[in-house]
């Protein structure tokens, strides 16, 4: 038996498949290196251009060469092919190569199948609402491509214009819309895994956020980044803006250029180290993925969850890096006293300055110490210095080797990290233990959503000094220069240095829109196993175990499918075609005489039965036979009877009066 050759795809079908593949690979473009993205996009473009010209099969050596070339690029970029990032790059490349050899329907199916997977895996790198919506639009494209792969009659040619590409896409969106209820069932009730089945190495990527080092210019890009860092829901009213210091890594070590964390900083602090004055405030933080282990809490965290640790510098860390949206609950004391007694090693570390760096600053500190004697007076002198002649800007002039000297005595302009770093150097030179604290300051309080949105641009650095009898005290030298920085935020202060898309009204608008993002994060991204178990709490069911979840899944989806089945099987009662209606009327009239027409009884048979029954009067019988003849003629002799003929037939049927033989 000879199998007929499968027909090759039309260029229209190929374009749809190509677009689906393009969507799936583009979804990965943001996190792939430029060389790999370029390789993949070039593959897709070449496939399409080639298919326009020929649908001949691609020679095998070309495929092998392309695969080899790609593996070379991949190892050059990543060094290996294992892990989430190289794996996704490999998947994209394979998909693009599949498109290159796609010729028949089966290839196209394989490509779309794999494109679905690739599209899904892109969500592992970005879970934001906008990106998710973009991938859902990609799904509609996939469905449109599948629909387009269905064979068409040879005769029906589609007008090849751009508009003809829209109907299948629209159908794809409609199908997705209809799929929402069933999809939500699945989403709500598919039991979540307690622990991952596997983990790929190198899952941590380079995300923006506060780092645990600080050198001149390191937070500069952060201050211009409008993406969300975390969101906070307070149990009570939010604290005043000036109190919103979100403590991150505490930097004690300084090598003249870079501030780093102290190695021994994670010893469990002495329980007596912190004395909270006044009530503590409870809140819940939803942290965007940082790929780092440290978390952020209001100065000063007093009560943290068990799975988290608090260092002796009061920074909070977690054992695993935060690779996905992470939610935690903390209590903080806004008024506190901590480390009333400073351990000697800590004192040493908080006073250390590198030799041969910043001689003028060190001299200044020593001068203050000899002139002023009092710690508080020295601090005030430093702040007064900043206040007098310094200027806050997000684009400071470059600094030389002795960066603090250059900043303090020459350029005199900079932003938080300059002020914090310089202040700590001055304090240490004056013999006051001091360190840099990084984190965020402020945030936008969303009234409608009753939560605080903290953006990357709220990144901040301030100083802590240790004073006898008072412990560590927060000093924000930036506030001395630019009080608005604390009151309004970094961007509001740096007005005029922002791009057009960071203008005030747009920022306000984006702050408002952030409510949607928060909803998305809350309802979808954060829907973990624990919340799934508590899903039916409002109905008085405490915890749902996985078996019940499966039953719920089966039950709800069965209900939905049953509804869909009813819809599919519904038969709308429609008006019969005029000819059928007239014929039915005729048969109804006659059914009184010889009984109804049988289900399988044709017009001729029925007419014959009428003839043999001989119950009708001669005139009427003749008329009836003529009508049946007309009907047969109208129904079967012509493919399309004219409306006029049918109307005439219907009139005759109406006029017919049944006369029986007397």
């Amino acid at each position: 038996m000879s199998k007929t050759r499968a027909p090759t795809l039309t260029i229209r079908q190929f374009s749809f498949v190509g677009a689906a593949v393009l969507a799936a690979t583009l979804a990965h473009a943001p996190h792939l290196p430029l060389a790999i993205s370029a390789f993949i996009l070039a593959m897709v473009a070449i496939s399409w251009a080639r298919y326009r010209r020929t649908d001949a099969a691609l020679p095998g050596w070309v495929k092998l060469a392309l695969i080899a070339a790609f593996l070379l690029i991949l190892t050059a970029e990543y060094g290996n092919v294992i892990g989430r990032e190289p794996g996704s790059a490999l998947a994209c490349a394979m998909l693009a190569l599949k498109l290159l050899e796609t010729r028949i329907r089966r290839d196209a199916f394989a490509a779309i199948c794999f494109a679905s997977f690739t599209l899904m895996s892109a969500l592992l790198f970005d879970t934001s609402l906008g990106f998710a919506l973009a991938t859902f639009a990609g799904l509609a494209l996939l469905l449109a491509a599948l629909r387009e792969l269905e064979p068409r009659p040879a005769a029906s040619a589609i007008v090849p214009n751009l508009r003809s590409y829209w109907p299948p896409l629209r159908a794809g969106f409609a199908a997705l819309g209809l799929a929402v209820p069933l999809a939500l069932c699945g989403f709500l009730f598919v039991p979540r895994l307690d622990s991952p089945l596997w983990r790929t190495p190198g899952d941590a990527g380079g995300r923006t956020g506060i780092s645990d080092t600080m050198s001149p210019g390191s937070v500069q890009s952060l201050l211009l980044d409008d993406s969300a860092a975390f969101r906070v829901g307070f149990d009570g009213p939010p604290p005043a803006r000036a109190q919103l210091y979100w403590r991150g890594p505490v930097l004690t070590n300084y090598d003249g250029e870079t501030w780093t964390r102290r190695e021994s900083g994670f010893a469990e602090p002495d329980a007596r180290a912190v004395n909270a004055n006044g009530p503590s405030i409870g809140y819940e933080v939803t942290l965007e993925p940082t790929d780092k282990t440290w978390l952020f809490a209001l100065d000063l965290p007093v009560d943290i969850p068990l799975e988290m640790q608090r260092g002796n510098d009061m920074s909070v860390i977690r054992r695993r890096p935060v690779t996905e949206l992470f939610r935690y609950r903390v209590k903080s004391a806004l008024s506190y006293r901590f480390d009333s007694v400073l351990p000697s090693d800590l004192r040493r570390a908080a006073l250390a300055l590198p030799d041969d760096f910043n001689p003028r600053s060190v001299a200044q500190g020593k001068t203050w110490r000899s002139e002023l004697h009092d710690d508080q007076a020295i601090i005030d002198a430093a702040l007064a210095l900043f206040h007098a002649s310094f200027f806050y800007t997000l684009s400071p002039p470059p600094l030389g080797r002795d960066s603090v000297d250059d900043f303090l005595f020459d350029t005199k302009r900079g932003f938080c990290e300059h002020y914090a770093g310089a202040f700590v150097v001055l304090m240490r030179a004056a013999g006051i233990p001091a360190r840099v604290v990084t984190g965020y300051q402020g945030g936008y309080f969303h009234r409608a959503g009753n939560y605080l949105l903290v953006r990357q641009s709220d990144a901040h650095a301030w100083a802590e000094v240790w004073l006898t009898g008072r412990g560590w005290v927060r000093v924000d030298p930036t506030a001395a220069v630019s009080p608005q920085r604390i009151e309004l935020g970094a961007q509001a202060v740096a007005f005029g240095e922002r791009a057009w898309y960071q203008s005030d009204w747009l920022l306000t608008l984006r702050n408002q829109i952030d409510l949607v993002n928060r909803g998305w994060n809350n309802l979808i991204v954060q829907f973990n196993g624990r919340r799934q178990q508590n899903l039916l709490n409002p109905f008085g069911i405490d915890r749902i175990d996985p078996t019940t979840l499966v039953w719920l899944l089966i039950g709800t989806s069965s209900l939905l499918l049953a509804a869909a089945t009813l819809w599919a099987m519904r038969t709308t009662r429609r008006r019969a075609a005029p000819l059928d209606a007239a014929y039915d009327a005729l048969c109804r009239k006659l059914s009184r005489i010889v009984g109804p027409r049988g289900a399988g009884e044709g017009p001729r048979d029925y007419a014959a039965r009428l003839r043999t029954a001989q119950t009708l009067s001669d005139r009427c019988a003749g008329e009836v036979q003529r009508l049946f003849g007309d009907y047969v003629g109208l129904r079967y002799a012509r493919a399309f009877s004219t409306a006029q003929d049918i109307a005439e037939f219907a009139r005759s049927v109406r006029r017919l009066s049944i006369e029986t033989r007397t």
Binding site: M1, S2, K3, T4, P7, R105, F109, C113, F114, S116, F117, M120, S121, L123, L124, F131, A132, F136, L139, L142, L143, L146, R147, L149, E150, P151, R152, P153, A154, S156, A175, L176, L178, A179, V180, P181, L182, A183, G186, F187, V190, R192, L193, P196, W198, E324, I524, V525, Q526, F527, N528, A564, T565, A568, M569, T571, R574, G600, G602, Y636
Partner: protein, 335 residues
């Protein structure tokens, strides 16, 4: 004992006929029109559907493993859209009606051309329906199916062919109608078995000898003379009346020419079963059929003499059909 079994079996069959008509209708022919409805439409996942399900499962496990809820939502959306396509597929085939079948008789050995008139009782147009004639004679099962669309509330003639290996009645046989619309994930199909048959004319003898000239009857000769249409000139033969001699034309020749008048009856030929001695029945049928076709092309009236019937003399499609039909239905062929 056996009687109760038989009774039970017949009860079962009746029930099956009532509940699952499609199963029994596979064997039984039905009269047109045939309406497809939910009791005779079947659905299975296609091979691609199975592969796609596997891919969805992989996506699901991947999303769960990384606790990636947006990915899970995307997988659920895609899965729900894919599985719900079964309803669209069912609705495509549901309420499709085979109204009538028109056939054009052909000769044995040719392909019978059929026109199946499908109608849709639904308002929405139906797309990508496919059909294949599953007649037992149709050996080549791998032939590409015929694809057709159905406009909403309207009918559509679908042209197809059926190999006709032998003369006589050819049952249309089973028609498989299916669709994988919209995404190729589900195979939705049904069987149609219309009780229609098509007439297949006998095979034409290849290189049949020329038409039997000179039917030889005296009456035909006289009839020819009585004709009044001018036909052609022929050589004078002894006995031709003088008034028929074409004097002007003869003057240019060295012999006499006679005008021959033609009438409907004048040149009719006799195709006689009994004169074809020495041939077996099938060969006779083939030759007579070939002669009929030739006579039709030459527009020569002919008379068909068969053992049981005598047709004609006449000319034209109706006569041709009557003659070929008689030949096609001659007994003797194992049909």
């Amino acid at each position: 004992m056996s009687s109760t079994l038989t009774a039970r079996k017949s009860t079962l069959l009746q029930m099956a006929e009532r509940r699952l008509p499609a199963l029994t209708r596979l064997k039984r022919t039905e009269s047109l029109p045939i309406l497809l409805h939910r009791r005779r439409i079947y659905v299975v996942p296609s091979r691609f559907g199975l592969i796609y399900s596997f891919m969805l499962l992989v996506m699901l496990i991947g999303a769960l493993n990384y606790a990636n809820n947006p990915g899970l939502l995307l997988t659920c959306l895609l899965g729900a859209a894919a599985y719900q396509s079964v309803f669209a597929g069912f609705r495509t085939l549901n309420r499709v009606e085979l109204r009538s079948i028109r056939t054009q008789p052909c000769h044995a050995g040719d392909n019978l051309r059929l026109s199946l008139l499908f109608a849709s009782a639904a308002a929405a147009p139906k797309r990508s329906l496919r059909l294949r004639m599953e007649n037992a004679a149709n050996a080549n099962a791998e032939t590409t199916p015929i694809v057709f669309d159905l406009p909403g509330d309207d009918s559509q003639a679908v042209e197809t062919t059926l190999p006709a290996p032998r003369r006589g009645w050819l049952p249309i046989g089973r028609v498989r109608v299916w669709t994988e619309y919209p995404y190729g994930l589900f195979h939705v199909w049904s069987w149609l078995h219309p009780d229609q048959r098509a007439l297949v004319y006998p095979r034409l003898e290849t290189n049949a000898p020329a038409l039997p000239q000179n039917g030889g009857e005296a009456q035909a000769q006289t009839a020819r003379r009585n004709g009044d249409e001018f036909g052609l000139l022929r050589e004078y033969r002894a006995g031709d009346p003088c008034r028929l001699i074409a004097w002007k034309a003869s003057a240019r020749q060295d012999h006499l020419l006679v005008k021959e008048f033609e009438s409907q009856h004048s040149r009719e030929i006799m195709l006689d079963w009994h004169r074809l001695d020495g041939l077996d029945d099938e060969a006779r049928i083939s030759r007579l059929a070939a002669w009929i076709e030739r006579a039709e092309t030459l527009q020569t009236p002919y008379l068909l003499q068969l053992p049981q019937i005598r047709l004609g003399p006449a000319l034209g499609p109706a006569h041709r059909h009557a003659c070929l039909r008689e030949l096609a239905l001659m007994p003797g062929h194992a049909t």
